[in-house]
Symmetry: C2
Subunit: 332 residues, 2 copies
């Protein structure tokens, strides 16, 4: 496992720019590239190393044996992977895109067999976008999924080293690492990340259709419920459309429950079961935030079945809070 | 119009307790009563005047000619109105319940013709409840609806004096006054206050049904979107069920839009129109928060048609920011 800690970030928007700042703060050697002249100028203006184009940044990564991190919208992934295949075909690769199965499929199409890829996704963000909106603190305490999908034996061993490097980056950025497969991530993200954006959009529209009086009466519940509708719509669209199958499933769940609430309210005048179920669910969520009272375990990445063990723990909501060599500290 | 500024608050939970503190701070003579021993003890412990029961608080209001404010859950309104009819049948009456037409109907059933009633509703709150959760600052900058429903000529004149007194209380509490009819309030509140609670409940449930991993990945969008699901479920239930007709209408709007998004995503893979419409709506909401650049007007309550003028202005999203004698300063 590498100890050189060099990182090449492609895409210098909110997430990529924040990773670059946080990794730099943690002592990594970092450089980046972006197709956005605004973000490039802003990053360079803060003293960051910005290569003139994506190709040169990737060639430097190949020469220096750096970890490459893709931080572009899902719709730009295919283009950037074409560049990776050309300029750094044997690099260690990760990404921070909000969907994992489609990105992994794109990686398989473009850059196998040379590239060693482990997908990742920090669950952090704001409704703002671009380099200027980022900060080195963005990931403090946030969950950051690092994929534990394994291939054959050799691939698993390769993945394990890259997994540790990507997990180390996430921890260095102040996040805690949640191990999950790409499919598990996408199903969960549809429910807790993509669906919230669509519900916020619908709520904002329903409010606005009530006219100026309704908007004038919008207070805490409306402000909170529509906050992420302020996000850049093209980024939200790309994120949601990239996770189509899992998101349709989550939408069906939401439509079923909302329809049941509507039917109960219209027929019996009551919404108690919907409200109580939601309250219990939110309390479960709050409890899961409240830190651990279920103890912690260690998982050594060099032991057989380590990745499977991490995957099982992740499914229980566990998170890796530290990595010492190959030993993961896992908090339940 | 009275200048004695005496206020009797029935119910000392989050809202009632906050009104009592804010009015006290503004120089009103205030006292309260509650059926909750916990809230009564907490309020008395902070030096507030708490009468031993609702009846004695109302008798004092009748003797002192004080304004009576009902701050109880909708489900308790009928009971308290029975007490009002018995102990203070000719008082000036307002309330801060989250639905206005059903409360107005209950007032007509119980306490006419002696009572002069003007309903109101401060659009403020937190997910906590009870006296301990309240504060004198709760209404700072918040919209506070004061109903402008008028009766016959005499009733309108009577209402106008009570309207000014209730509006003055809201302004003294730091809020701005939004004039609206009870029906307009209920339709708007269904969209921007009651629907957000049901969407938050459904989102929380959909997230929890994704298991511990999904909850572990919940970040900003899930936290914001489910925040009000932490509210006391019986209060949410009472609020939603009290506004049944308007809320079914808002739910149908939300179900229609969410269903359209689902259909578009499943068939074409796109959700752009939903996301863009929500984004524009949220920007309109933000713009409506951003203070006025459309100027202000004065409306004198003593001029003919004043209440109708206020109602028209409220429908445009205007708010009363000050009241000097009978002259309302209205900001567009």
């Amino acid at each position: 496992m590498t100890s050189r800690r060099e990182l090449c970030v492609i895409g210098l928007g909110l997430i990529g720019g924040s990773v670059l700042r946080a990794a730099d703060r943690a002592g990594w050697t970092v450089w980046g590239a972006t197709t956005s002249p605004v973000d490039a100028a802003a990053a360079a203006g803060q003293g960051c190393t910005v290569e003139p184009d994506v190709g040169s940044a990737l060639r430097r990564a190949a020469a220096d044996d750096a970890l490459v991190l893709l931080a572009v919208p899902f719709t730009a992934v295919e283009d950037v992977l074409t560049s990776v295949a050309r300029h750094a075909p044997r690099c260690r690769l990760t990404d921070v895109v909000g969907v994992k199965e489609p990105v992994a499929a794109a990686v398989r199409r473009h850059v196998v067999p040379g590239t060693r890829y482990v997908g990742s996704h920090p669950m952090a963000g704001t409704s703002a976008s671009g380099w200027a909106a980022g900060s080195a603190d963005l990931f403090d305490g946030a969950p950051w999924v690092v994929s534990v999908d394994g291939g054959g034996d050799r691939a698993v061993w390769a993945d394990r080293a890259v997994w540790a490097e990507v997990a180390g980056l996430a921890l260095d950025c102040g996040a805690h690492v949640v191990p999950a497969t790409a499919a598990e991530h996408d199903a969960a993200a549809a429910r807790v990340s993509h669906l919230p954006h669509l519900l916020a959009a619908v709520l904002a529209s329903v409010g606005a259709r009530g006219g100026p009086l309704a908007l004038a009466l919008g207070a805490g519940s409306f402000t909170d419920g529509t906050r992420v509708a302020a996000s850049h719509p093209e980024l939200v669209r790309a994120m949601c459309e990239g996770n189509r199958v899992a998101l349709v499933d989550a939408l069906d769940d939401a439509l079923g429950q909302l329809g049941a609430a509507r039917a109960e309210l219209a027929s019996t005048g009551m919404v108690g079961s919907t409200v109580r179920a939601g309250h219990l669910a939110r309390r479960a969520f709050d409890a899961s935030r409240g830190g651990s009272d279920r103890g912690s375990v260690q998982v050594d990445l060099e032991t057989p079945g380590a990745m499977e063990r991490l995957r099982e723990l992740g499914r229980l909501g566990a998170r890796v809070t530290a990595l010492h060599g190959t030993r993961c500290q896992v908090v339940l």
